[in-house]
């Protein structure tokens, strides 16, 4: 299995497809760079006024603007920035004075861990409920009802409900943070769950698991509902296909038909959806991160926007775009692996 995936990857790399894909990526990054650059320069807000306190002189403000090249024409500012980007330098944050890439990488693991964990929960429950809903009409009624509330209530509302019920009233789960204070998990990958496991820190693992549960579930509910619905309808379609009749006529059991023969075909739209959701969650988890005091990218992005930290906002947007493109690419590869009909074209 792994070798097949590797093989597909190698094929992709050696093919013309990849070349085309890289061109697409470059175009997307260029587009984003323009948008990211312009968006905060068009809407009002002056980062320099926001960063200096009272008591500075007009000359100093000018000096600072010159330092950040804000006194230059927009096009020149843009070119400076792009030149930096090309040398893989995201620049220096206005507000924190630290390098944007180090800020991002400091905060990224928390967000990515949350998002991946969310996806795992959502895919697991989404697939199970989706399949059950497709094959059991009675259970389906209940599942559809839950799905409606899952979709109707936005994730931050779930977050608030969970914080109040499970953290404040029942005190079953911690309200915020990634681990309890005093629990030390040695950093290897930056993902606490994984780090705790590979360093054999079982207590740390369960502590981190407790902390990630509520935020991940709040994010996962809507997604589970989405996956459930998508999978259910694609499953219903697949189950009516001739080839499933063929598999049935061979005498396979119903479970095998559903979970092996049908699921692999029905999963196609779910994979696309999950890929989209991953990149969506990266940015969309911000509010939930805030509610659960999750020290991820969300908090960083909030303040970056609030204080018009141009370089930081731009850096984060570029980074997200890069991730989005990469994830799409990986999804495509996964797609061809699961659905051999799709080839790199």
């Amino acid at each position: 299995m792994g070798s097949t995936l590797l093989h597909e990857l190698l094929m992709a790399i050696t093919s013309y497809y990849l070349f085309k894909r890289i061109l697409q990526m470059a175009a997307a990054l260029l587009g984003t760079s323009l948008v990211a650059f312009l968006i905060f320069r068009i809407i009002p807000g002056d980062p320099v006024s926001l960063m200096v306190g009272p008591g500075v002189t007009e000359e100093y403000i000018a000096q600072l603007k010159a330092y950040f090249k804000l006194d230059q024409p927009l096009i020149i500012q843009y070119l400076y920035w792009v030149a930096d980007l090309l040398s893989l330098n995201l620049g220096t944050s206005f507000r924190y004075g630290s390098s944007v890439s180090s800020l991002i990488f400091e905060r990224l693991p928390a967000t990515v861990e949350l998002v991946l964990f969310t996806l795992m929960i959502a895919v697991f429950f989404g697939v199970i409920t989706g399949v059950v809903a497709a094959v059991r009409q009675r259970v389906n009624t209940v599942i559809q009802a839950l799905t409606i509330s899952g979709l109707a209530i936005p994730h931050f509302l779930w977050a608030i409900i969970f914080v109040i019920f499970f953290a404040a009233i029942l005190k079953m789960f911690p309200a915020s943070g990634r681990v309890d204070i005093g629990v030390n998990i040695q950093t290897v990958t930056g993902f606490y769950l994984i780090d705790a496991l590979i360093t054999g820190n079982i207590d740390g693992f369960f502590n981190a698991l407790q902390h990630i549960t509520l935020p991940a579930i709040s994010l996962a509910i809507g997604m589970t509902a989405f996956i459930q619905r998508t999978l259910r309808s694609s499953m219903l379609e697949v189950l009516r296909e001739d080839y499933i009749l063929t598999d049935r006529m061979k005498g396979h059991s119903e479970l095998y038909i559903i979970f092996v023969r049908s699921l692999k075909n029905a999963l196609m739209p779910v994979i696309t959806l999950t890929g989209v959701q991953f990149t969506f969650l990266l940015g969309g988890s911000a509010i939930v991160e805030r509610i659960f005091g999750w020290p991820g990218m969300g908090n960083l992005l909030f303040t970056a926007v609030q204080y018009r930290d141009y370089t930081l906002v731009q850096g984060i947007l570029m980074f997200y775009t890069f991730i989005t493109i990469t994830v799409n690419f990986l999804v495509d590869i996964l797609y061809t692996y699961i659905n051999p009909k799709v080839e790199f074209k």
């Binding site: 009002p44 807000g45 002056d46 006024s49 926001l50 960063m51 200096v52 306190g53 009272p54 008591g55 500075v56 002189t57 000359e59 100093y60 403000i61 000096q63 600072l64 330092y67 507000r95 924190y96 004075g97 630290s98 390098s99 180090s102 800020l103 400091e106 905060r107 389906n140 009624t141 209940v142 559809q144 009802a145 839950l146 409606i148 509330s149 979709l151 109707a152 209530i153 409900i161 109040i164 953290a167 404040a168 005190k171 911690p174 309200a175 915020s176 943070g177 990634r178 309890d180 204070i181 309808s233 805030r290 509610i291 659960f292 005091g293 020290p295 991820g296 908090n299 609030q306 204080y307």
Partner: protein, 566 residues
């Protein structure tokens, strides 16, 4: 969104919706229940708070206005750790880099020492700098560095470190480099004496030495690791040293060799929790021992809980209305003054802010150097109407203006402005509210695109009039409303700009401190009498802590674990 993506039967659909609605109702009712039980508690405690308030409210900023406690003290083994649910992001510990408002710098003030310290009365007193002395013409300043101060790595703090810190601070892009730009030369005379040469007289430099980024870093460490790395593994001389620093969590450990004496609590943790509701849950669930800047409702509710107490502390934040005079309407002094007379500040404080604020009559709050206890600007709607009628306005023919406010940036900001708009309507001022962000506010102020009036909260933890009436009103300051007028070359309909410059000049230029303060007091009064600014109230900061934590919050808004104990 199409709920019926597949071919369910009609009946199925109905029952599906039924269950969906039912579950939504359950949650809705749950939420309502929580909300209503919360507000019942509030009503109870508010009366309590009001009673307490009348007793403890004083004219100085040094005392908390209200202390709400409802449980009796219980004795227990003293904890060794205190966790603070912290309302701000903790991103770098480099003390110079990022710009801050006051409370944000508390972790820094715990790790580092400032050149000078500040008392609760906002006075500058010796810190790392043991004494200071102005040279002739007040363009040079001698700083004598205290002996025997140790950095966390055990090395001794010397004049070299002080000089290095000053030199670093004044280099862009460090956030306040501009403030220190006035220092033209730094000279280490001997291991305990630093001499500064100033390019011009700046009366606020002493205040700045005990303020914002005026922290001392060890030269040898900084030079070895560079600013970014220093921001991750900082070494200071403050009461706590960094035990571990991960994104979102700063764990500190008592520094036993602290020169003022070791702190009472062994370990202190700053935990980043940006959402006010979640901070409330943190202390309610007991995972944090302390938090601040919670919602007023949460404050009332939590204060009444077993094991918690709430402290409402007036701080050096003054809410004002900034009035640019580049509109004919606000160019008219009658209109400006009527706007002020028509506002019932007491009512706003009692009804909207639930007592967590105090009326001010100038930009200078009690405790500020230029506070003027004799000056009062009364609430007088009749007078307001009379002034308006002089300019031909009345309730039936109101003057029409637009007012900018924030929504959620400061406690109840939007609600307060709604109330003010209603009060104005009573006298013949028809105002339209426009919600903006802080970033927009700066942009509008700088480019001469302000509305007729802007809600804003002006902080001045130094207590020096330069940082209140000075920078908010002086036409030469880059922060006053005049800046936009000048930048966009607009008409000053009040014709007061030159006079304002003259009146406020001494605040910046007068070398005799007593005369300077007297002039500032005059200036603060003058700008209010001319209607160039409408001071509203001084804000309180709301703290919630475990019942057994002993701590008096500081009027500057800092949270200083060094002064905490169990």
């Amino acid at each position: 969104m199409n709920v019926m993506a597949d071919k369910s039967t009609r009946r199925n659909f109905l029952s599906t919706v039924g269950v969906g609605v039912a579950s939504a109702v359950i949650f809705g009712v749950g939420g309502y229940f929580l909300g209503s039980s919360g507000s019942r508690i509030i009503e109870r405690t508010v009366t309590q708070a009001a009673q307490t308030a009348t007793v403890t409210r004083t004219q100085t900023v040094t005392q908390p206005t209200t202390v709400i406690t409802t449980v009796t003290e219980t004795a227990a083994a003293r904890p060794t750790r205190l966790v603070i649910a912290w309302p701000f992001e903790i991103v770098t510990l480099n003390p110079y880099r990022f710009s801050r408002n006051i409370p944000v710098e508390s972790p820094m003030a715990t790790i580092y020492d400032r050149f000078l310290s500040q008392t609760r009365d906002l006075l500058q007193v010796p810190g790392v700098v043991e004494s200071w002395e102005w040279g002739a013409e007040k363009t040079s300043l001698d700083l004598r560095v205290r002996k025997g101060i140790k950095f966390h790595d055990g090395t001794e703090l010397t004049a070299e470190d002080v000089a290095f810190s000053l030199a670093t601070m004044k280099t862009p892009p460090n956030a306040y480099a501009g403030v220190w730009g006035v220092i033209s030369d730094i000279q280490v005379v001997n291991p305990s004496l630093v001499r500064l040469t100033l390019s011009r007289f700046d009366p606020s430099i002493i205040a700045w030495m005990g303020f914002l980024d005026a922290f001392v870093v060890p030269k040898h460490v900084w030079e070895r690791v560079g600013p970014d790395e220093f921001g991750k593994n900082p070494v200071g001389s403050g009461p706590y040293k960094v035990k571990s620093y991960r994104p979102g969590i700063l764990e500190l450990e008592r520094f036993d060799d602290y020169w003022r004496g070791a702190a009472a609590i062994k370990e202190v943790v700053f935990k980043e929790v940006l959402d006010p509701r979640s901070r409330a849950v943190e202390v309610e669930a007991g995972t944090s021992d302390y938090t601040l800047e919670v919602d007023i409702n949460d404050f009332q509710r939590l204060s009444s809980l077993q094991g918690l107490k709430g402290v409402s502390q007036l701080v050096t934040d003054v809410a004002i209305l900034m009035i640019p005079t580049y509109y004919p309407e606000t160019g008219d002094e009658n209109v400006r003054l009527a706007m002020h007379y028509a506002i019932d500040k007491e009512a706003i404080i009692n009804n909207i802010l639930r007592g967590h604020a105090r009326v001010v009559h100038t930009t200078e709050a009690p405790g500020y150097r230029a506070y003027d206890p004799d000056f009062k600007f009364p609430y007088d709607p009749a007078k307001a109407a009379e002034l308006l009628s002089k300019s031909g306005y009345s309730k039936s023919n109101p003057v029409k203006i637009t007012v900018a406010t924030f929504k959620g940036s400061f406690p109840r900001d939007y609600e307060v402005m709604q109330a003010i708009v209603a009060m104005w309507a009573e006298v013949g001022i028809e105002a339209q509210l426009e919600v903006i962000t802080i970033a927009q506010h700066f942009e509008m102020r700088n480019t001469g695109k302000m509305k007729h009036a802007h809600f804003y909260v002006w902080s001045n933890a130094t207590g020096d009039p330069i940082n209140s009436v000075g920078h908010s009103q002086w036409p030469n300051s880059p922060f006053s409303t005049w800046r936009g007028l000048k930048a966009a070359n607009l008409t000053d309909y009040s014709g007061l700009m030159n006079q304002a410059t003259e009146v406020i000049n001494p605040v910046f230029l007068e070398k005799d401190e007593e005369k300077r303060i007297a002039a500032a007091r005059q200036a603060a009064r003058w700008v209010v009498e001319k209607g160039l600014v409408i001071p509203l109230y001084q804000l309180a900061q709301l703290h919630i802590m475990k019942r057994d934590v002993k701590y008096d919050p500081w009027p500057q808004g800092w949270v200083l674990p060094y002064y905490m104990s169990y």
